[in-house]
Symmetry: C2
Subunit: 185 residues, 2 copies
């Protein structure tokens, strides 16, 4: 894991080889392939701990505050640490490798989701948003917009964007009760 | 272009080669490389017209209505036509090829954005949303959530999701005026 993390930071997933990981770790290639089917699966495991450590769930007392610190942490991680390059390379692999996509969903996305749903359920418990608010829709809006700018690079992941995003998604969660949905449909 | 579109639909970007495109089109490989630096750039050009034709800008008279038909068109295109597989493969390439990422931004994203901003400006002109609403933030929330489910596959791109997304983003656009943003900060 340590050798993989170092090589990911130094070279990136595209350039890194399983042979180099084995050399640096002082083990044979075969012992790596016994546990991971390919270098992307190996990178996914090495990436996960750094990734989750970089975006802790924090409790600021308000939904907008929780979303704002989450946006800032995520933006810092993907724009200022090697995790950003690894994330881009892993996303590229998941788009063309169904087995890795499955691992990505199970390992990264569902673990993150379980953590993040706490932000929404705390807000509902405080009475800030209706209990009927769909946490998945809110998380898709929030992380969807962040990933959209990260993947496409059409607009900056700036502090202003983090603030506007947190405010707008918090307001959307307040209003997107099931009642509103029915009223407007 | 016709040969490229056919091969993209039959084989996908990963398997397709420039040589096959040249053979099917009855031209030499060199004449393709004179115009496109690699197969991804060729695929991007071939993809664009089908993609934009599949997601026309329509005027339903309300912001929620415009967003709902946009979501339905996009979901149909990426889940029920070969454009979905090509989109996934092109996104994967843009994540690891900076030159293609630049072309993607200039050719696809900015052209789409210019089209879609009309949805937001019409809503502002009708008085449905404040004129201060940031169209880019609204479009990042809307397309971000759609792409997020498409890329990660953690939850379905269902009709229910299209409806909830259109409703919630329309409400967010109504409330996310600059005034609200300042009041809450």
């Amino acid at each position: 894991m340590k050798a993989t993390r170092e090589l990911l930071a130094e070279q990136g997933l595209t350039v890194m080889t399983v042979e180099e990981v084995a050399n640096r770790a002082g083990v044979g290639k075969a012992s790596i392939y016994r546990r991971w089917p390919n270098k992307a699966a190996l990178a996914l495991d090495a990436f996960l701990d750094d990734y989750l450590a970089g975006i802790p769930v924090r409790d600021t007392g308000t939904l907008r505050g929780d979303l704002l610190v989450s946006a800032r942490d995520w933006i810092r991680l993907v724009t200022r640490t090697p995790a950003g390059r690894t994330l881009a390379a892993l996303l590229a692999e998941t788009l063309i490798d169904p087995a890795l996509a499955e691992a990505w969903r199970n390992v990264v996305l569902h673990r993150m989701r379980d953590d993040r749903r706490a932000i929404i359920s705390r807000a509902a418990a405080r009475g800030e948003i209706p209990r009927s608010t769909d946490p998945d829709l809110i998380l898709d809006l929030f992380y969807g917009a962040l990933y959209h700018r990260f993947i496409n690079g059409h607009l900056p992941l700036s502090e202003g964007f983090a603030r506007a995003l947190a405010t707008t998604v918090a307001l959307a969660a307040t209003n997107a009760s099931r009642g509103d949905v029915q009223a407007i449909q």
